[in-house]
Symmetry: C2
Subunit: 131 residues, 2 copies
């Protein structure tokens, strides 16, 4: 894993709020979706493009991680990290996000959005490339 060299952590749990008080906390959300099975591959392709574009072009979209549940692959979960509430609201109006919402409207059986508070967000720092 030579392309991972450093670690960057975002610590904002209640126990650390004193230390992090000077930084605005990010907005972190979980999304739980159930997709129409017949549309699953099409949905994943559209989601993949939307995530890549959002993180690349929007300064305030810090990370978007999407996975499918192995026991039920039509169940998708996302962990979304935005720099601020303003960044989140800007994301909702971004053309690539609007395109995603319109394109997938008929594919989504259910969508549950869960507001969260980060305790610790920690990742190795990758070099400048995509895998």
């Amino acid at each position: 894993m030579s392309h991972f060299t450093l670690a960057a952590c975002l610590t904002l749990g209640a126990a650390m709020q004193g230390a992090a008080a000077q930084a605005a906390p990010p907005v972190v959300r979980i999304a739980e979706l159930e997709i129409e099975p017949a549309s699953l591959e099409a949905y994943k392709a559209i989601l993949t493009e939307e995530i890549e574009t959002s993180v690349r072009v929007e300064p305030g979209v810090l990370s978007l991680n999407a996975v499918s549940i192995d026991d039920n692959p039509a169940h998708i979960r996302l962990l979304e990290v935005y720099a601020s509430q303003a960044a989140y609201e800007a994301h909702l109006k971004a053309p690539h996000f609007v395109k995603y919402k319109v394109s997938t409207a008929g594919m989504v059986r259910s969508l549950k959005l869960i507001s969260t508070t980060p305790i610790m967000l920690c990742a190795k720092s990758p070099a400048a490339h995509c895998m």
Copy 2:
């Protein structure tokens, strides 16, 4: 957000498996925990230390993100990304992980581990510091 300059994406969804076939897929897991409310702050402090240490010292621990659910803060979720199954197994034997498990054994009401398959893991590339 000048400390975020680049984006790195890990694309391993079914739609992209051809392009990513040469790379071993990471092991991605969701953990859902319910913590004894009286132990919540102590638990979060121990978890924070365990996450920071794991990502810093273990080459195969790519990211660990922990959040609490705002509607029920004693409910914690983690998204865990390991470079491989071997990296995951090494993590389970790491002294800081064993210390975390022993220290928090009496604090955890329930633990559910969910195996997942990544669709898209995408984050800006932070510079070499922690927030």
